[in-house]
Amino acid sequence: MLSKRISALLLLSAICLSSVYIVMRGGFFQRRPAEEGVTLSQAADDFVGNNFPFGEQLKQLATRFRLLSGQWEQNGVYITDGHLLDNIQEKDPTIGDENIHAITSFVETNKVPSYLMLIPTSAAIHQEEKPMYAPLTNQRRYIEDVYRSMTGRVSTVDVYQTLLNHREEGIYYKTQSNLTGLGGYYVYSVLARRLGFEVNPLDWYEIQYSPGTYYGDLYQRAPYKKVAPDLVSFFHFSKYRREYRVVHIYPNEVKTYYTLYPSHLLSGGQPFDSFLGGISPIVKITSTAPYDQRLLLFGDRTAASFLPFLCNRYREITVVNLSGTTPQMIADLDIRQYDQIVFTYSVDTFMNDPSITNVLDAK
């Protein structure tokens, strides 16, 4: 009976002290506007969750506990010793079909040399690390099927084998679902040859590393401390002097950077957005490179990994993120001024994001 009383005393103390801490920290007695679509119950849970003492440590404990019970997949992320792998799945097969149709219609209408590049995710390239028997979408087959359906209409760029060959070199972040700078270089090297120009060798770049290490979006879903945090590396073109202007265009705002790697974003909690400042609805990159060609690129955030290499080959690159643009922004694009067009997406985006069909708004 004594042990029960001691247990109860400790349990009640833990609950009451935690409650007081939560209320004091969260400012419970301040008036808060009610959020739409959020029930009182959910709001209470969120309030407690966001203000719980040692919340981060407890989430890691939960991840460890689930791992001990054999659950190597948590919130759609496979936990391995080396990487957190996002288990991407095709939610609706019609989305991919519609994206194929939209791109081929656009290309047939505009008659500008166009290329499609699908980039596999880390889960495909590091699939030998996945838990035994774990199902994984066959991204190689998916890419081949998409490319086959576009034969003769769009030129395709196959980076799968190249990334597979270099998989031990740290080409994907461990905790973020994206390519590293080095991974971006290998993608650029394949794309450059397809676009018809020579690849700048790696020793033309100086590598600078971020001052700290970071945990990415996959870590937020599966906080497993044994996976090492990521170091962000920046590849500065050093062979010749170059100046850059990166203009981010939003529906109601324009932001300009004069560097490919705005370093203030490292400390602002968005380290992976320090490549070009992220991928806004429209990004226009101009450089002092002695070339006249203009490239139009429809892509997602994977493009940020290889664009710093590509922009030394064009006078201007316009990057369009179709998931963030308004129809007017797309309609205002003057397709005829571009010499080449590239559609570049991660397999996950191409498979599941229907906004790619917005390309049909372009005239």
């Binding site: 029960k4 247990s7 005393l9 609950i15 939560i22 119950s41 689930r66 997949e73 838990p131 035994m132």
Partner: protein
């Protein structure tokens, strides 16, 4: 907010305990009723007016039953009106409610059945007509049990409400019981429910026979651990607030007969229907037939508790049929063979019966049963199944172990032989359970 949520454990519960214990004994019941109303309003805001209206109606019926003591016809009319109202509401809500992954009665079911039971007890002169709306309100609406039960009678709860005696030992027992129930729900029930839902989402043409077995096994554990966890939490909350609620589950999966299983699973619900379903007591040859109909009626209503659907009704009737078969044919045999074999046979029969409770079309249920007996064209296993098993075998083994009294027996052995170790382990276990449960909820 559900009683297994962060908001409940770390906001609502401490606040309600503070409100209750800072109030003098005279007003504790009133505070408990207010807290229960607030809880129900937060959980089912759109149903609160209906719940209050229903309670007021039955409260008035009870007062009328007392007032019309010498008038049997009017008393029958009043009681009949209450039964029709309550059963009608349950029927309407059951038909309108969306099906849920795991059948659990909505709060109104617990309220209506408790209230109807009290009306019938007063009608039968088995309970007094209490003029206190507060006591009556707590009987029906006590927030700890409103979600899933257990069902209680007036005679079980009223004496405790009339003489409130919160004690430190009661609070201690209650806090520990609540924590264990919470751990059972979050650690076991939620994990095995996720496994069940993964397997259930597998299309029939991709399902293997082993996957079908594991799916039904996972469903059986998910159902048991979810409902029993809520009942444990309800009992724990009851003790915290000075109420001793009845036990609702007693290791049903280690029953030796289906009759025993029926008596151990959701006990208060089966007792409730047995108490109030009376088809008369004819003599001679009609007696056995009437008893059989009564058994089927009771088990059918017990089955419908899990959800108002033909599947749940079929499950209840099947259990009833098996009870009758045991009563007249196989019962003695099952009790004669060694317990381990009778338990295994009963567990197997119960698992197969639970296929009906999975829901879905009859053809789907038939397909699952065919698959389980290897009559489909699919192989026994495939990679998807092997992956799910490799990720969840520890959870399944844990559920199997904890669904029997083995853990209890082990605990008692340690307590008897190593009392100090038992004390230490108890404290560490309870604290560890709260920490891990909270971590998993975050």
């Amino acid at each position: 907010m559900p009683i297994d949520s962060l908001g409940f454990v770390y906001l609502f519960l401490p606040a309600s305990m503070a409100a209750y214990y800072l109030t003098s004994n005279r007003y504790k019941n009133f505070v408990l009723l207010v807290v229960s109303l607030v809880f129900y309003g937060m959980l089912f805001p759109t149903m609160l007016p209906m719940a209050l209206g229903s309670l007021l109606f039955d409260y008035l019926v009870v007062q009328l039953l007392a007032l019309w003591e010498g008038n049997p016809a009017w008393r029958s009319l009043a009681a009949g009106a209450s039964v029709v109202k309550n059963m009608g509401m349950l029927l309407a809500l059951g038909m309108l409610a969306r099906p849920q992954a795991l059948m659990a009665p909505a709060g109104l079911s617990v309220i209506n059945l408790t209230s109807m039971g009290y009306v019938l007890d007063v009608y039968d002169h088995e309970a007094p007509a209490d003029s206190s709306f507060v006591r009556y309100g707590i009987l029906c609406l006590f927030f700890g049990k409103v979600f899933v039960g257990p069902l209680v009678t007036y005679n079980q709860l009223a004496p405790q409400l009339k003489k409130i005696r919160p004690s430190l030992s009661g609070i201690a027992s209650g806090v520990v019981a609540f924590t264990i129930g919470l751990g059972k729900k979050v650690i076991l029930a939620d994990s095995v429910t996720a496994l069940y839902e993964s397997l259930r989402a597998t299309p029939l043409y991709e399902m293997t026979s082993m996957a079908a077995w594991v799916m039904v096994l996972a469903f059986a554990f998910a159902l048991y651990f979810t409902l029993s966890a809520y009942s444990d939490m309800a009992r724990g909350l009851g003790k915290i607030f000075g109420l001793d609620l009845p036990q609702n589950f007693y290791y049903p999966y280690q029953a030796r007969t289906v009759t025993e299983f029926f008596g151990r699973f959701n006990m208060t619900v089966s007792e409730y229907w047995k108490r109030y379903i009376r088809l008369g007591r004819p003599d001679g040859s009609h007696a056995r037939l009437t008893a059989a109909f009564e058994a089927l009626f009771v088990t059918a209503l017990w089955g419908v508790w899990f959800g108002f659907s033909p599947n749940c009704l079929a499950f209840g009737l099947l259990i009833g049929a098996l009870v009758l078969v045991e009563r007249h044919l196989t019962g003695k045999l099952l009790r004669a063979i060694p317990p381990v074999f009778s338990r295994m046979i009963t567990f197997l029969v119960v698992i197969l019966s639970l296929v009906f409770l999975l829901g879905g079309e009859w053809s789907q249920i038939a397909a699952y049963l065919r698959m389980m007996f290897g009559l489909g064209s699919r192989p026994a296993t495939d990679e998807t199944f092997l992956y799910l098993i490799s990720s969840n075998y520890l959870v399944l083994l844990g559920c199997l172990f904890l669904s029997t009294s083995s853990a209890d027996m082990l605990g008692r052995w340690i307590k008897k032989n190593y009392p100090q170790l038992d004390d230490g382990l108890t404290v560490v276990f309870n604290i560890g359970l709260l920490v891990i449960t909270t971590a998993l909820l975050l």
